[in-house]
Amino acid sequence: MASKTPAPADRAGVIARAALDELVALLAGRGYRVIGPQLRDGAIVYDDLARADQLPAGWIDQQEGGSYRLVRGPDAALFGHVVGPHSWKRFLYPPAQKLWQAERSAGGFTVTTAAEPEPPLAFLGVRACELHAIAIQDRVFGVESGDFTDSGYAARRQAALLVAVNCGRAAGTCFCVSMQTGPKVTEDLAYDLVLTELLDDRRHDFLVTAGTARGAELLAGLPQRPASAADLVEAEAASARAAVQSRAMVPGVADLLRQNLEHRHWDAVAERCLGCANCTMVCPTCFCSTVEDVTDLSGDHAERWRKWDSCYTLEFSYIHGGGVRRETAARYRQWITHKLSSWHDQFGSSGCTGCGRCITWCPVGIDITAEARAIRDAEGS
């Protein structure tokens, strides 16, 4: 994370669509592993990006509770989609990480942690809600302060370069406006560059602003022209369109849930919740993990792997005698109260960014905003 140097709007530049290819090449040439959105298996996922034409031009996502469909959009926008099942956490905090290995030796064993060097990451197309998610995980893993620091996460995070993009539309499940995490990338967020797609019959450009010296230096290497007042107006209009959202989190939800740990609505959710853990896997801030200790057939080589885990599994809370949270109602309550309430006590912010992934990817369409509202509406009853 390079130090933040706020860039005034008059320093914004406009680059053509073709310059994105140059940006990807420039980053790859500097040794970055460039990751960006692309179309695969009927969804927009994040993966290695060799060229900008791998970006999902012309595709937009239609999202509702339990439903995700890609359709052709009205134009060739590269970032007309919103967020899919992936988040950047799978690169900063990989789903499976080897923590160490151990070899049996005379009279014992030797533990080594020698990690293979990884290229720095460059993310292309990080939304405002996702910048918030990254900032939230930075606090969870103690990047700048905390009782402990996850050194692997901190190293990947500090080397990562973030090219953000402003949303020009919202999906049906977005509620970032009510979480104050979007849709527009704000200057208090950590990003190197921020793009806004400017697209009509006559042109396909991007308004670009640097958020760091590193970003400004990258931008200087791209063919550009200074932004005009009209460009800035058009960019604001895009953000205004994305701010029209049909879902919203109820105000004061942290206190609301804290005061309703025992509420009959939890049983009502449990009648629908499958306990499948999808919401935790797609959530860009969920951080729970387990460890697996493995050995090879000889029994002389052991490894410990850290893998994503979910508070929805019965084993998650296992202690001798059985799991603490045996009922689905207790497990759903744990997830939503942690996300929206106790996260504030632990890390000083909500754990929710309003990205809507948990709503879209829930097989039965359970809606975190609706469940919070149901608790409020039935409070005291």
């Binding site: 009279g107 402990f148 200790d293 508070c311 202690i319 603490v324």
Partner: protein
């Protein structure tokens, strides 16, 4: 980090996720299913800890479990861990012999408020293997007995055969300045001692309700009734400390397994002043 009820020792190693090599100096059988491992660092380094803290013990190739330290910091020699073999890893640890190596991460967590209790009466309530995490505190209290008022130690086991640290309990009971009571839930064989739940002994008193500190460790249901009995005697929640058990994988607040409300039991606990968790303690399956 200073906590309201003690000092959390600085992490002993740079990377808290990597085990340090320790060697088993001694293995002592305690009960049919319970044993104590005496460990010493094998890397030449030291090991500082506070009473009530725990370590993550790794059996090569099998896995890792949290185990509280059952020796006192100033106890000469090895660092003791008293373990009940109830799972795969604890059984593997139980199969190890003196000279074998285990991996150790720690120490982790908060400690018993021994120094904060100077000048107060002490009520120490333990159930089953819950005596193991309290043993270091009891040893510290005995070593500086003059700094405390009345000291009441109440211990309950399921049967006479399940009484942990039996000889030590007998020796503590021989002190004229310790009030030690032992009870069992169920009589087997020849037992002429007390029968009944340990929490029932609290009502016998022997401590000043306004100037006592209570330390509790045992099954959650025992601690629930223990707190209730202490409240009935007039001991306030902020003078009661409980050691909580939850699933722990990382011990540093990254894995999320041990969450209890907003607390990570691994680093905000395991020892909590009861007033901090009182509202949550009564809620099932939290």
């Amino acid at each position: 980090m200073m906590t309201p009820h003690g000092t959390m020792a600085a992490p002993a190693q740079l990377d808290p996720m990597t085990p340090r090599p320790f060697r088993i100096r001694q293995r002592r059988k305690e009960l049919a299913d319970t044993f104590t491992l005496a460990l010493a660092p094998d890397d030449g380094g030291g090991f500082a800890f506070q009473p009530g803290q725990f370590n993550m013990l790794y059996a090569f190739g099998v896995g890792e479990i949290p185990v509280s330290i059952s020796s006192a910091p100033d106890e000469p020699g090895e660092i003791l861990h008293t373990i009940r073999a109830v799972g795969k890893v604890s059984a593997a640890l139980g199969a190890l012999k003196p000279g074998d190596m285990v991996g150790v991460r720690g120490p982790f967590g908060t400690s018993w408020p021994v120094e904060a209790a100077y000048g107060s009466d002490l009520v120490i309530l333990a159930g089953g293997i819950g005596l193991a995490p309290l043993r270091p505190a009891i040893r510290q209290v005995i070593a500086q007995r003059e700094k405390f008022g009345n000291v009441v130690i109440l211990y309950g086991a399921r049967t006479p055969e399940d009484i942990l640290f039996r000889k030590e309990l007998q020796s503590w009971r021989g002190h004229f300045d310790l009030n030690v009571e032992v009870t069992v839930d169920r009589v087997t064989g020849a037992w002429g001692g007390r029968v009944g739940v340990v929490t029932g002994l609290i009502r016998q008193g022997g401590f000043d309700r306004l100037h006592s500190i209570a330390l509790l460790c045992g099954p959650e249901v025992m601690m629930r009734y223990g707190v209730r009995a202490l409240h009935d005697c007039g001991v306030a929640s902020e003078r009661i400390y409980v050691s909580m058990e939850r699933n722990m994988k990382c011990a540093v607040g990254f894995c999320g397994h041990c969450q209890f409300g907003a607390s990570f039991v691994c680093k905000d606990g395991p020892v909590f002043p009861f007033d901090r968790i009182e509202k949550l303690f009564a809620i099932p399956e939290l």
